[in-house]
Symmetry: C2
Subunit: 528 residues, 2 copies
């Protein structure tokens, strides 16, 4: 059986691993696709690590503009080849070519790479701080070692381990990347890596700037993150896998950035229910079912007060859920997990409002599913109702009164987002003021009158949040340039001779436009 | 036996714990001091946690200027009482009243509190980012929960858990602190906490803004950091204790900031040896023996090339070491650890140049100790020669040639600092250029022609570094305001109504002077 080659140190090689091989599955048919991919051995992964270590040492000696050039060139080359990539991604994920892959995710992917390139050229991201009196200068600098990127199943392009947000951030910060393909879309990932390799060659960067392995065994992954040459780890995926990886990385003292699970609570206050019932119901439906509900920011839990209007709200949402045809899920594992979570919710006392069953094949689909539970039942076992169902599943919690609603929010685990819908005329404001501080410390991004799906690539984005949504609440995985900071160390220079300083910290502003904090004032000027 | 009271929720209470009691020991006499302190029970610690959680909820609702007022008022009250505090600290630590405690550490402590107050008022530290087009705004906000501070033995004032750098940073970021006294200076810590309580009362902040327990059992500490109400942990101390605490915090997903151990390599390049032998020798001696060598940035390892001059350098340093009277150490544990490390170095092949024995009592002292080892022997077991000896102990590694020196640096573990001495005329520059990138990724602060002791409280300080120096290389524990970021979460506001935004993110600049990054430009202006 011919297997697709892995990319190590600039060469496409046949894996020597005898461990295993696998094929991706077309989620719309349930049938395996043609190409076959190796599960690499630990030794093979260490080979990549060794090459990446060397590349890291070269990268820190090169002008950062070369990294910017690479990112731009890579975007250009992807743009030329994008229809092939989109076709492969559609086969491997069953995500729609139009609008999803072609008009939304691919433009986002290209935009991310170009924004990262611009930020690298601008240099302000590294937060240069200069204290001339103490003769101390600091900035965030590259970890200068290999970053391992483990990618999620749900964004084959924008979070692809070889082209997506983590790749761009790790490289922009100055580190080489070892990409591990998500097993759901190895073909897409390979096409990206092929394109990247061309760009790496043409831009004169070290060949091991990006390397690709498709998969390794769990236990080998844990050893690899703990390897002395590994600089950091980025992981987006399930909580169970993420926590194991975190444990291995933590024990070895490796910075690890995980995005694991999030139920993204939406609080609908009484005034919003009464005055905008239909709109909010429509928005909730759209946010829950977009991409078959397979977004890390899908609203999985809605909290509202018991009322006649709140019952009407449920009916309206349920009608939308029933009317919409369920989309394909990314894989059989996703389908099974949804079934298990829905069953658990029901076993623990939630009532099924609509949906609840998997669909007949071919392909992997599950009915759009809505459940409800009382505040009392929720509070009796709050953790049990916060399992993430990665699909079009939403649980509505009906609180008896504002006190109980506050208690429910107090019992929420960390999420990426939290939304509050309230009356436009201000009548919900006292209620908002009460619950907002509780919600604020539970989420990374707080929204008003807006559903959480749709994560803008903005400098002001926080796509992160308290544990277990992520592993560290001070970082973001989306947003340029803040996402770069995950792959840096804070480095200061004490009494270092001027010509030995990195350009960003010398007296002369390296670009004439870079922002630096000099003696407490942000400025674009030179030090005179 | 009368025990000193603990401070819980604004009241000085007798501990109900039956676990144990202890006395501090005067390191200059080896005799226990009079006062007796309880080892608190887990339940007692949870009581403090519950009160702190409530305080945290109140703190986020109060204007931040009240926190600044408290920090200033606290500094003022310490200043009034400082002679008592200094006297107690001198008894408990055997550190000199003059110059150390009165002229160096106390002014630093007061300065830190006042700088923190000024940064809180200024607000620029929170790094407000506003993207008006996406209607997204972000900043670092308080964790809004209790921060547990475990303090080191070596700075009874400036790193005191109830008054030092971690206390100031956690509170400045908006979080209440539960201080655990270092067992070496509970009396000093109690005096700080008494003073803080007065300031808390007068400034109208919640009584549990600062609480004090002296000690808890290890296993209770691990449970406590994992408690759902704990927001974060700051620890400065030994690597063995730090790693255990890290494991407990990591497993519970709690942000934990540790400063654990550092050998602070000093590289002396050939030109510096030849041209400034006596000066460098004198500086090394002073840096190694200051405070009896009990600084986290004490240079513990010197790397240099074999040469006649390098032998002369060693003789000069050794003469200084021999001539200087050893100072008192902070405790018997410190003394024993030094002996064990020196014995290990010798057993592994290092040669004793001078010192090597503990001194006769009373009190805890160890001879100033210098050892040497060849590059070959070092490289055969590099980790074994990187154990931290917290005292006036220094190991010189003699490399055969530049290649071996590079290999030695490549094999160093993470440290807080790394220093390079080189010729002033530029003849060492090619050598410097070769080793600098290797050293750069091993240390937080890189110095030229300067020893690492002396950690300025500057905005450009990085007092941190790669594992195992600390638990995360992107943070600093010294330096205002950067040290605040340890106790924050990155929080964004998406489409949030203007009047509901925190003042720092509203259109109008809250102070008229705060720096904010608005649409990519740092500015002090309002949004118009």
């Amino acid at each position: 059986m011919k297997r697709e080659p892995i990319l190590i140190n600039g060469s496409w090689l046949q894996s020597q691993s005898l461990i295993d091989s696998y094929r991706a599955v077309n989620p719309a048919t349930g049938q395996p696709l043609e190409s076959c991919y190796p599960v690499s051995s630990y030794d093979e992964a260490v080979q990549a690590l060794t090459a990446a270590k060397q590349a890291a040492a070269e990268l820190v000696r090169l002008p950062v503009d070369l990294i910017a050039d690479l990112l731009d060139l890579y975007a250009e080359k992807i743009d030329i080849r994008k229809e092939d990539i989109i076709r492969t991604a559609a086969l491997e994920t069953a995500l729609s070519v139009e609008p999803r892959l072609r008009s939304v995710e691919m433009p986002r992917t290209l935009n991310q790479l170009r924004l990262a390139a611009a930020a690298v050229r601008d240099r302000s991201w590294c937060h240069a701080v200069i204290d001339t009196k103490a003769d101390l200068r600091s900035k965030y600098g590259p970890l200068a070692g290999p970053v391992l990127v483990f990618a999620p199943n749900n964004f084959p392009l924008a979070f692809n381990s070889a082209a997506g947000a983590d790749f761009a951030a790790a490289l922009a910060a100055g580190n080489p990347v070892i990409a591990f393909s998500n097993p759901g879309h190895p073909g897409t990932t390979k096409m990206f890596a092929e394109t990247a390799l061309e760009a790496v060659r043409e831009s004169g960067l070290p060949p091991a700037t990006l390397q690709l392995l498709y998969q390794i065994r769990f236990e080998d992954g844990f050893r690899l993150v703990a390897h002395s040459d590994t600089a950091a780890v980025a992981f987006t995926g399930s909580k169970s896998s993420g926590l194991k990886l975190k444990k291995a990385a933590d024990a070895a003292g490796k910075p690890v950035f995980l995005e694991m699970s999030s139920i993204n609570p939406v609080l609908v206050l009484p005034g919003a229910i009464e005055m905008r019932l239909k709109d909010v119901a429509q928005e909730l439906f759209a946010s829950c079912t977009m991409g078959s509900g397979q977004f890390c920011t899908k609203p999985g839990l809605v909290v509202l007060l018991q009322s006649v209007a709140a019952e009407e709200f449920l009916k309206t949402v349920a009608a939308h859920f029933r009317a919409a045809p369920p989309g394909y899920l990314l894989g059989e594992g996703v389908l099974k997990k949804i079934g298990a979570v829905v069953d658990n919710f029901i076993r623990r006392g939630a009532l099924l409002v609509t949906g609840g069953k998997k669909m007949d094949g071919p392909g992997f689909r599950h009915e759009n599913t809505l459940l409800r539970v009382s505040g009392d039942v929720f509070l009796a076992q709050p953790q049990d109702f916060q399992e993430e169902a990665f699909g079009s599943v939403c649980l509505l919690v009906y609180a008896e009164n504002p006190d109980q609603m506050a208690a429910i929010i107090e019992n929420l685990e960390g999420s990426l987002t939290g939304s509050v819908y309230s009356a436009e005329n201000g009548r919900d404001d006292p209620f908002y003021d009460r619950i907002k501080p509780i919600l604020r410390r539970k989420v990374g991004r707080l929204l008003n009158d807006k559903m959480p799906t749709g994560v803008a690539v903005s400098s002001a984005m926080a796509h992160g949040g308290p544990y277990p949504a992520t592993g560290h609440p001070a970082f973001t995985s989306v947003g340029i340039p803040a996402s770069f900071l995950r792959f840096t160390a804070l480095q200061s220079y004490d009494h270092v001779r001027e010509h030995r300083l990195p350009p960003e910290l010398r007296d002369k502003n390296p670009t004439g436009r870079m922002w630096r904090l000099i003696n407490g004032q942000w400025t674009q000027r030179d030090i005179s």
